[in-house]
């Protein structure tokens, strides 16, 4: 077989590594589906990126606050022996920290958060 130009090119092409890097441990772990990524617990950035879709007003929030929050935090957010003061505090200086706190941990009562006890 004569080594003409096309053979040389073929050999060169075959030896060029694939542009997209292969994983070192390809058989372990799999690609996440878009649904899996979407349904992960939101980790929210400082300016709100990562928040789930939604919106609301203070008027819409008032009845929610009355039913879920007043018992521990007081009608005016002044706090009680069951929960700290909310208004004028410095623990949650950003809206995202407030959102994260409520989404993750509030109300503290287990039943209200729809959790089930195993034992």
């Amino acid at each position: 077989m004569r080594w003409n130009r096309s053979w040389i090119l073929l050999v060169l092409l075959a030896s060029v590594p694939v542009v997209q890097a292969q994983r070192a441990y390809e058989s372990l772990g799999r690609s996440a589906t878009p649904e899996e990524v979407r349904s992960a617990t939101p980790i929210v950035g400082p300016s709100g990126e990562g928040l789930p879709p939604g919106s609301g007003t203070a008027q819409q929030g008032a009845p929610l606050y009355a039913s879920k929050c007043v018992a521990c935090h007081g009608a005016l957010g002044e706090g009680s022996r069951l929960g700290p003061r909310l208004v004028g505090g410095e623990m949650h200086p950003f809206a995202t920290t407030i959102w994260n706190m409520i989404n993750g941990s509030m109300p503290r009562n287990l039943a209200q958060r729809g959790r089930r006890e195993a034992r």
Binding site: A21, R23, A24, Y25, L28, G29, R30, S31, A32, E36, V37, A40, T41, I43, V44, G45, P46, G50, E90, M91, H92, P93, F94, T96, T97, N100, M101, N103, G104, S105, R108, L110, R113, R115, A118, R119
Partner: protein
């Protein structure tokens, strides 16, 4: 009978009587040991395999605390590895311990990556792994408010333990996912009831961060994050996320409930004016300082008598390896090097021992750690020179651009003094606003 003979006879008689008493164990010689050998102990009759080790009924070590916060009895332990079932645990926001089926558990890696990935626990156990002893410590450990009133080492500093962790370096997983340019932060998310998450700089994620599945040789306990947790050597416990189910790669830290302490400084300009922390200040907030505590003799314990008494304790640092531990037995006036007789591992509890002869007089003893970076453990009074004596100042300090002021809030690594009273009882001598060298010679008072 001649008087000499009778006195000799009386001497011999009384000597025999003494010997008899000693044989019956009725007289204790000066060493404090019983002369008579112990009776044969009751036996545990064989009744099949003993599948799990059982402590002697004479060993009663347990944790103390609540369902969501528990401390290690450091003052009663030896060596530097904490027994698995005595490891401390702290769950934020009254988090309740979940009971996961490892076959159903998944770790998602996503965000600014080329390919988001999902791993099972079984797959992670087949990835390249390392094993290292690492301490964990809660950021509230050694809190001055607690230190002021507590009595024992466990009460003040019990939110730290050291275990041998096995897992996959997070860097291996991040390389599999392919980190995109511009991504400088990694946020770890938990499957716990409080949806805890916490952010770390990419540099930490790509260096020593470990996705751990084993603790002291076997799967970790439920309380410590079963089946997966993050271990960040040298970093405060809050960020070593338990029940780890999410790794999100980003270009900014998230402003989660727990992250706000680290990434935000409250500006003295007033409410509403917040500064993003500088890199250096942030590293000081994230990393545990050089720290040490004397475990024996410590608060609530007693030195039984005068004479030789080896002082023993633990030292550790988020800066890496312990380089040196010094002990003072005169209230801080003079310091001498303690021995570090065992292997020294970076980011691990390190046992120190100090030979001491107690002369029976009241004194104050304490230890001081220096780490490999040259960080030296400080007295609370030294820190107060910068910040004032009000330890209730929580989030309101400003670290300053050059971080020249030792940050109060994150430095729970104050030197821990113990007062040894004349009767051998040991008391907490930590007092804010008081130089321990002034405590020596103060009669009475526990310091709390």
């Amino acid at each position: 009978m001649k008087p000499k003979q009778s006195s000799r006879r009386r001497f011999l008689k009384s000597g025999a009587a003494l010997a008899g008493l000693a044989a019956a164990g009725g007289i204790l010689p000066a060493s404090g040991q019983q002369a008579a050998p112990p009776a044969e102990p009751p036996l545990i009759l064989p009744n099949g395999l003993r599948p799990l080790g059982e402590r002697s009924r004479f060993e009663k070590l347990v944790r103390s605390g609540t369902a969501t916060n528990a401390t290690t009895p450091l003052q009663d332990l030896h060596g530097s590895i904490t027994p698995t079932d005595l490891h401390f645990y702290v769950n934020h926001e009254a988090g309740i311990i979940p009971d996961f089926d490892p076959a159903q558990f998944r770790l998602l890696i996503h965000g600014m990556v080329e390919r988001p990935l999902v791993y099972t626990v079984a797959e992670l156990k087949r990835m390249p792994a390392i094993t290292r002893p690492y301490f964990l410590e809660c950021g509230s450990n050694g809190n001055p408010e607690r230190a002021k009133t507590a009595k024992t080492l466990e009460e003040i500093h019990g939110r730290t333990s050291c275990a041998e962790w096995t897992g996959v370096p997070l860097s291996v997983l991040l390389k599999e996912a392919g980190v995109k340019d511009g991504a400088g932060w990694v946020i770890a998310g938990s499957a716990d009831t409080s949806k805890h998450s916490s952010s770390m700089p990419m540099e930490k994620a790509m260096s020593t961060a470990l996705v751990a599945y084993a603790m002291n040789g076997e799967a970790m306990r439920l309380e410590n994050g079963y089946p997966l947790r993050l271990v960040l050597p040298g970093y405060y416990g809050r960020i070593t996320v338990k029940w780890l189910n999410q790794i999100k790669v980003a270009d900014q830290p998230s402003m989660s409930t727990q992250d706000r302490h680290v990434h935000v400084d409250h500006s003295p300009a007033g409410e509403g004016a917040f500064l993003m922390t500088t890199d250096r200040a942030r590293e000081m907030q994230l990393s545990v300082y050089a720290k040490s505590v004397i475990t024996f003799p410590s608060g609530g314990q007693k030195i039984s008598d005068r004479g030789y008494c080896e002082i023993s304790g633990l030292a550790w640092s988020g800066g890496g390896s312990v380089k040196r531990v010094e002990v003072s037995t005169d209230g801080g006036k003079t310091w001498k090097d303690a021995k570090l007789p065992d292997a020294i591992h970076p980011y691990a509890h390190t046992r120190f021992r100090f030979p001491w002869t107690w002369n029976g007089e009241e004194t104050v003893i304490m230890s001081r750690c220096t780490d490999e970076k040259g960080d030296v453990q400080a007295l609370a009074s030294e820190v107060e020179k910068n910040w004032g004596a009000d330890s209730s100042q929580g989030c309101t300090e400003v670290l300053g651009e050059d971080c020249s002021l030792v940050p109060r809030r994150t430095n729970r690594a104050y030197i821990q003094p113990w007062r040894v009273a004349g009767d051998g009882t040991v008391h907490n001598a930590f007092v804010m606003g008081t130089d321990p060298t002034e405590l020596h010679g103060h009669p009475g008072g526990d310091g709390g």
